[in-house]
Symmetry: C3
Subunit: 155 residues, 3 copies
């Protein structure tokens, strides 16, 4: 049976969740760009502090770290540590033929937990909220990995 | 022929290896959390040094880099540079219909090389051991990429 | 219909593009290694500045950041933020049964945009060229994500 096809409704749910996470992570790069433009600094490449169309009046302090820009870079780093794992774990999890209700709940809860994490870090809300949203996503990834191992071992 | 299904024993080996790598990389985040709690510092978000349930007695030096915590962050960064490549290269490699013995050897050697790398960095063992374990994983990824290209080109 | 097989020419194009991107990202690690050897510094692990076969004459300043090495690390970080998204978005995009001409154009343009990005950063060319090459890859990922969502919703 072919499971990795849009004829499979579990895979359709996975594909939507994956597309949202891909757009989210890609957009974090644009948020960093937006913030560097806004503060006109926080650059990391020496060539960015040279005179040019995008930087008509360069200053040496444009290469100093800027907390407003660094926050977006840390959010991006957190994405790189988490989202690729969801993308692949979710894909293989589809092959365990989970029930639609369970799979759709896991995929959508994961997406919501990451969007909550994004909002919490963006707003610099208390640490406890960031830890909670990250933990929910983490538990879902562990659950899918365990389901994969379980399904293969009982095969 | 459908290869990305648990009916295919090569894919079952891939799924187990992928699940172990996903759990490994996800757990590195928890190791960083554990180390931050243990040294009560090494934080990176200003809001983490504010008073709250998780930080009843905040100190400004909690935001300074801490080598014990940084080591776990570097291990995590190394995972982000390597494990997603294995997860996708391995998946496409299954489509080249490799022999079971070869595929199972590659997948399990990769997993062992990464677990060795984890142990070597955790214990701060000599550089030569870290380089060796990383190189083994790297060669396996190159091999799978070459096998994919070769298989497509001869199609 | 099984789309994730080399019998599908769109998947063959995807597999070649994915293999090239995997080799590119894996090789960035080797470039960092090469640069650390060349400047005999830019290390990050305290144990790397200890005496050993790979470091017969250690110096404490080997642990200071070196811009030549850091540039390769930032290139690697940029890869981790972009390439895994392409690898998974491209795979799911194959399931939308795109026309071969469109799919092959997207995959090859993405690869070329990333190779251009690599060359531009390696040579420290003006910021505008780096921004342009990154933007092209980014737009392709957004396009594939949108095509996935569109295809699932109309299902």
């Amino acid at each position: 049976m072919n499971l990795l096809t849009f004829e499979n409704s579990v895979f359709r749910w996975y594909a939507i969740a994956a597309a949202i996470m891909i757009v989210k992570m890609m957009s974090q790069g644009w948020i960093t760009v937006f913030r560097m433009i806004k503060v006109n600094g926080g650059f990391r490449y020496p060539e960015d502090a040279r005179k040019g169309p995008a930087n008509p009046r360069p200053r040496p302090d444009q290469l100093l770290p800027d907390e407003y820009v660094q926050r977006s870079r840390r959010m991006h780093e957190n994405d790189t540590e988490n989202i690729p794992l969801f993308l692949v774990a979710g894909l293989i999890y589809v092959c365990t033929v989970p029930g639609l209700l369970l799979a759709a709940s896991l995929f959508s809860t994961y997406v919501l937990s990451r969007l909550a994490h994004f909002f919490v870090v963006l707003m610099a809300l208390p640490h406890e909220l960031r830890a909670t949203s990250w933990t929910i996503g983490s538990v879902i990834i562990y659950f899918m990995a365990a389901a994969i191992v379980w399904d293969v071992l009982k095969y």
